[in-house]
Symmetry: C3
Subunit: 320 residues, 3 copies
Amino acid sequence: MNRTISLPDQDTSRFHGMNILSVKQFSRQDLSMIFDVARNIRTMVEREGSLDVLKGKLLANLFYEPSTRTSSSFAAAIQRLGGNVIQINNVTFSSVSKGEELRDTIRTMGSYADAIVLRHPEEGSADIAAAVSEKPIINAGDGIGEHPTQALLDIFTIVEELDTIDGLTVTMLGDLKYGRTVHSLAKLLALYDVKLYFVAPDLLRAPPALVDELIANGMSPCKHVDLDSIMSETDVLYVTRVQRERFVDQSIYEKVKRSYVLNVDTMDSAKDRMVVMHPLPRVDEISREVDYDPRAAYFRQMEYGMYVRMALLALVLGKV
Amino acid sequence: MNRTISLPDQDTSRFHGMNILSVKQFSRQDLSMIFDVARNIRTMVEREGSLDVLKGKLLANLFYEPSTRTSSSFAAAIQRLGGNVIQINNVTFSSVSKGEELRDTIRTMGSYADAIVLRHPEEGSADIAAAVSEKPIINAGDGIGEHPTQALLDIFTIVEELDTIDGLTVTMLGDLKYGRTVHSLAKLLALYDVKLYFVAPDLLRAPPALVDELIANGMSPCKHVDLDSIMSETDVLYVTRVQRERFVDQSIYEKVKRSYVLNVDTMDSAKDRMVVMHPLPRVDEISREVDYDPRAAYFRQMEYGMYVRMALLALVLGKV
Amino acid sequence: MNRTISLPDQDTSRFHGMNILSVKQFSRQDLSMIFDVARNIRTMVEREGSLDVLKGKLLANLFYEPSTRTSSSFAAAIQRLGGNVIQINNVTFSSVSKGEELRDTIRTMGSYADAIVLRHPEEGSADIAAAVSEKPIINAGDGIGEHPTQALLDIFTIVEELDTIDGLTVTMLGDLKYGRTVHSLAKLLALYDVKLYFVAPDLLRAPPALVDELIANGMSPCKHVDLDSIMSETDVLYVTRVQRERFVDQSIYEKVKRSYVLNVDTMDSAKDRMVVMHPLPRVDEISREVDYDPRAAYFRQMEYGMYVRMALLALVLGKV
């Protein structure tokens, strides 16, 4: 089997040893390179199942809060590259210690492993970890902060499904106020020429600060609209969960919930070539019958996620 | 190392990609083939420790309820075949969602792994999983439903220990009402020419429906008897746990418990060549002193279990 | 890659299949051999990342109580040697069963794995396990009992950092009454020519039985002293945590705590060539600023621990 992934005429050395902390650290050229690697890896995995590129490499999968999906995705990624994983779940920690214990744990794990994936409920923990770590840190979600690999896989899904990003109309639906995923994705989309629509209940509209930042980054202003009015021009419908806990008045929640459920009727007015995405887990916001629609890309999105994470691991560990 | 297991003159292709959901899906010929593979694997493992047959293959070990024994057995099986495992324990799930969340999790895991072992507290979950999964599902216990690999390993243990199944007298002891294990085993035994005895407290007798099904499948009628009266003709004594919770009146439990404890005195009246089996964990129903009796097969049973699971994985993943 | 580690002119066969239960089982010559292997492995890991020495070997990492650090260290050790791990966390067990369930679990795991690492809250469990196990048991801490691999890695750290042990002055600081770590280390140090000082609050002084045992083993009498008075002659300062729970009167705890915090001022009076060690996790007993002092060896200690555990696994599984 192959021991490296080759990417002719590209210099990937800047990724070697890099921390993956925030979507802000990536240029459009970086994304393009990561996706080239992910695409190569996908081809090789489809042909051979697994590779030997990271044979002998050890990844610490350090999860301070449960996330079956993300944790499994990284565990699959390192193992399909021939490496191994140390899985650490539900680490008990005292929030009183305010990051002190995290620093020691990171330094300990860094003496065992070649890279560390960190999921932690407190915003900024990934930065704290990176500041003391001798090994690369990959942020797999730090509270209301960042979850950069999710945003990267979202973009990769769009490129793979629709062949391009420039010129697309992306509609984000659901909880745009608290949804970490849509914030990170919107910021990455600002690197491209994209028309962005927001569809959210009044209580859950995108924060003005985010809208301002997007405009400052050259995006055309993003307006809050009704789904019906833009469904037919949407290329990417990005659906997120509306959480019951956000509503004091449960009757408002019930009303809102119904108006944000995607079903086959809603899909009728959509383009033939478009995709529906969702970071999962979902509750009711996409009806099960939509799963059989070829435009439903949310399960393929999971698989693209594994390839993107494989690409990042291979790049960071210097095997591209 | 070998990259496939060869089984000359047998067509194993029907196992490729197969879900393992229920004992009902196996013919006597199927069992014979699975056991041939398990026997080959056992020889190879005893010689080499581990094989390379499933190198690059990834198994998701998805446990919605804890089962150290079964989970470890599958983790050992895939790794001794050269593959890797994604271990997912104690998945939190809302029973309100009635399988919806399970469907999404299965599809997610199927985008990472090559096969999925599922343990779930609700009967029928393995069927739900198989209906949506693009990868083979192996049922590792779904509530009061099935636990087919346990029944397969029980049969394999009998064959390996006593060289045959036809003509044997099998006595099942303990909780025959709620014990999933004995139900599945009895159904598989109906494929062979076996005399079956039941020994159980009145409260925990085998369900009439099970007895009827066994008779309909050609078994000679199975009678409830005293252990003393048939111990001397028993070839396989299959012991299960009597759970305290089943008894409203604890004084009855205490009395029953004492009469269903296997000890060296009971073993005195048994044949020289017979086996005592138990699915484990046990509480008090087999006294520790019996462990040193060569007829005590319950620890060897665990090891046979690993070989049977290795055989199933190799067959399902097309490497035989 | 190499399939064995060679140690010319030394007979390592006595380690093959050995249980690692207590520091008492090791002679000075044993330690020397283990450290030679650990040193070889370290060199190979620094060159190649991982080895193939234990390819095909399976380790059961059986943790009845959480210990992220120790568990991860063993998981890293077996995987960097090319083997695989079955990780079993938070096994539920009934203390009523008094070891019965442990015996069955050990025999089950022994039918899947080639060696078993055991962490259990009850003193003596490792001995119970070893008595029934057909596979080697490595004690990773049994309550207030032993934690031999911790003591081995402590000694290895000293040798690697200071090139020798004979002639050194070792000062142990903190909870010397309940600290399992310092008891085991002190016993191992008795194999060498070492001057030992104890610094502890009155409530947490080393048990007289330990002091008597050390003297009986030929150590010069160990006196309880103030840190200030011996800091300048200390070669190894071994710091442990003072637990709040040990104090009925919290005002005494607060006072004691302050007098046992190591900071840069304390370090000013220390030798240029000495080391500060700590078994981790720490709370406040070493101030963060000391981390940047090259004499702070507690994170390197973690890495030495991985090499020592690799050496033990390779020796016990007969690959040296």
